[in-house]
């Protein structure tokens, strides 16, 4: 990947999803990625996909209503020398599940790296969100593993920062979804 490359190539994507007309609560989601030895994975690419603050996706396949801003909902970030990443975005609104039940606010995350023959999908939920308790996807996860999907609020200055570390293996192995 190109995250550490030093050459004249403009990546089409960035880790900042927020534009001037984006509405919603600004949040930074940041963390580190670790392998089975607890070593930082310095060569990952992370991609997130999410709804806007009204819970609409910037995709014509979402037929409910058009988003009311230019928010694209997609971001890409490479990990740094500490395995760290960060996305500047907004907290998404509620998206229904196939039965029409509300899902708690979440980002969908795809993780790519050397040594990963097929990328992995997980979800990032938000600490302190009351809707987490009734989320139909979190309910599929064994109770003792749910915490691995919930980003912890770190501080709120100037805007909310949530920490979400990813562990490929080990006691705190992150839940990945078979999609």
């Amino acid at each position: 990947m190109t995250s550490n490359g030093k050459y004249d190539w403009n990546d089409a994507f960035s880790n900042n999803l927020v534009t001037a007309d984006t509405s919603g609560e600004r949040v930074r989601v940041e963390g580190r990625v670790f392998d089975g030895d607890g070593k930082p994975m310095v060569d990952c690419m992370l991609e997130i996909w999410q709804a806007d603050a009204q819970g609409r996706f910037s995709d014509p396949q979402d037929k409910r209503a058009l988003p009311n801003s230019s928010f694209k909902g997609f971001g890409r970030c490479g990990t740094d020398a500490d395995g760290g990443y960060a996305f500047d975005t907004i907290k998404p609104g509620t998206v229904p599940d196939p039965d029409g039940k509300p899902q708690a606010p979440h980002l969908v995350l795809a993780l790519f790296a050397r040594g990963m023959l097929l990328h992995l999908y997980t979800r990032i939920y938000f600490d302190g969100e009351a809707a987490n308790a009734a989320d139909p996807v979190l309910a599929l996860v064994p109770i003792d593993r749910r915490a691995t999907l919930i980003a912890q609020r770190a501080h709120c200055n100037p805007s909310a920062v949530y920490r979400f570390d990813i562990h490929l293996q080990g006691d705190n192995e992150t839940v990945f979804f078979d999609v």
Partner: protein
């Protein structure tokens, strides 16, 4: 309407733990993945169009001050879904080493020269039929530290979005008849022979440009079939 993405589609892919490829050992989950029904979050995906692709982004021989060294080739084909329908207007990205097998990347210490006129990165958008086309230089094989005398076959990395976030695919395209195939654990991590051979491009004499460039055809098949009405209004 939207498409459905059957889980059986995933059986063509390599197992995440493929010990012959050593980095997979500490980088694959040990606990089972949790199955879930696709929701709007999985069935939608980013839409990027012409505003994302600049002129010459699909011609890697025109991005420098002069022409890069190496064997000029055209790589083209269709992005298709599982029913053979073209996937239109989708972003296709590629990256690759230069003709010597050297990447422009700080961690690539292979003692082969960089080419000042070659970045090795390109992107394009498929047309209304799902067709895409790149002009580039055939990449060289390169050594890697996986095992004694390990060399990657010549390959081009492809990244495709498709209709949804679960049709997202990153893969590698190989060249027909490469003698390194039997020795490469990444190529052979795809255990099904038919699936493995779908990563090998076809030499395309018919679309070779006389006196200018050879041509290879590489079709990319993404998940997605059985168009169904969107369940959520």
């Amino acid at each position: 309407m939207t498409l459905s993405y059957p889980l059986q589609s995933l059986t063509a892919h390599p197992p995440r733990l493929s010990p012959g490829y050593k980095s997979t050992v500490k980088r694959s989950p040990t606990k089972p993945l949790i199955p879930m029904r696709h929701t709007l979050s999985e069935l939608t995906g980013p839409v990027y169009g012409h505003e994302t692709v600049r002129e010459n982004d699909n011609d890697l021989t025109l991005q420098g001050k002069g022409e890069p060294l190496g064997e000029r080739i055209i790589v083209h084909g269709h992005v298709l879904d599982e029913d053979g329908r073209g996937v239109p207007n989708t972003l296709v990205e590629l990256w690759q080493a230069n003709a010597c097998g050297r990447y422009i990347h700080v961690v690539d210490q292979h003692p082969a020269p960089l080419d000042p006129n070659f970045t090795g990165a390109g992107r394009t958008q498929s047309d209304s039929e799902g067709y895409y086309r790149f002009v580039t230089i055939k990449p060289g094989a390169y050594p890697w530290g996986n095992h004694h005398n390990a060399w990657r076959p010549a390959h081009i990395h492809f990244s495709v979005f498709g209709h949804s976030f679960v049709s997202r695919l990153v893969t590698q395209m190989y060249f027909p008849g490469d003698p390194l195939f039997p020795f490469d654990p990444i190529f052979n991590s795809v255990t099904d022979e038919k699936a493995r051979n779908r990563m090998v491009s076809d030499f395309d004499l018919e679309n070779t440009k006389p006196d200018w460039a050879l041509c290879y055809r590489f079709n990319i098949v993404l998940r997605g079939r059985n168009a169904t009405p969107m369940e959520t209004k």
